[in-house]
Subunit: 168 residues, 2 copies
Amino acid sequence: MGLCYARAMRDGRLGVGTDAMEAALAAARAAAARGEVPVGAVVVGPGGAVLAAAGNDVEAGCDAAAHAELIAMRAAAARLESARLSECDLVVTLEPCAMCAAAAGLFRVRRIVFGAYDPKGGGVEHGARVFATSPHIHQPEIVGGVREAECAALLRAFFAERRSSPKR
Amino acid sequence: MGLCYARAMRDGRLGVGTDAMEAALAAARAAAARGEVPVGAVVVGPGGAVLAAAGNDVEAGCDAAAHAELIAMRAAAARLESARLSECDLVVTLEPCAMCAAAAGLFRVRRIVFGAYDPKGGGVEHGARVFATSPHIHQPEIVGGVREAECAALLRAFFAERRSSPKR
């Protein structure tokens, strides 16, 4: 699927800047440096510009809902002064959970592009499978597995280090 | 289900203050007065005190994720300085959507009490049925149909008035 996505990007069919996942990965790395689970997300506007980028911020903000995707979508909507992100893409390093997937539906994003699959916490291809199970919700196009290995490696390294560190 | 809930409350088994749904209804009415879809939510702490109350704030804030439940849970978590609301109940006038239901799982709320059922937009008993379909998510106790008629009437009146008003 990553290959198809790359080809579509090369053909200009997807309209997502080729550096969008790179920006999401950078946000994920910054989150890891803050002790947050390394997930990063960006919202790409109609012209291909990154409207907002964010990493997870759960620990610092005492906010279980402070997932990268939700922060980035809210910031992009605030920037556009519109609760709809109809011409925008959400690009995120990990398969969104059910909360973020449903939020993307509410924000009416055009497309969700994600990196690693998340069999336990994901809500797009796993678990609640929000779009498949919710006929009345806005249905973004879904592209999974983009730069999957890098996105997954970041998470694996974070959790491996956390397990090996002495408990605080 | 409303009757069972009333009995459980009388017996002190639920630990939710009897006025919690009244507070949620008040927040919903206030939302309607601001032109928002009238949904209200409160988070009730372990001692029965209302930790946070909120109504929908989608239109004013240009934020499709500004549902009453999410605002109230974030506010309660900030107040407790904890991303977990383990001993808290979420009391809301309408069946939560998939986003808010999944968020309640992330915040690990003890119980979700809701008023009206929402066959189109709900994500607990309808659509994504988040808890039933997500075995790895925290599973709050679910109590639906509390003061259902009042909660539903508020929504019906709001949409009837909106339909009959001249378009702005």
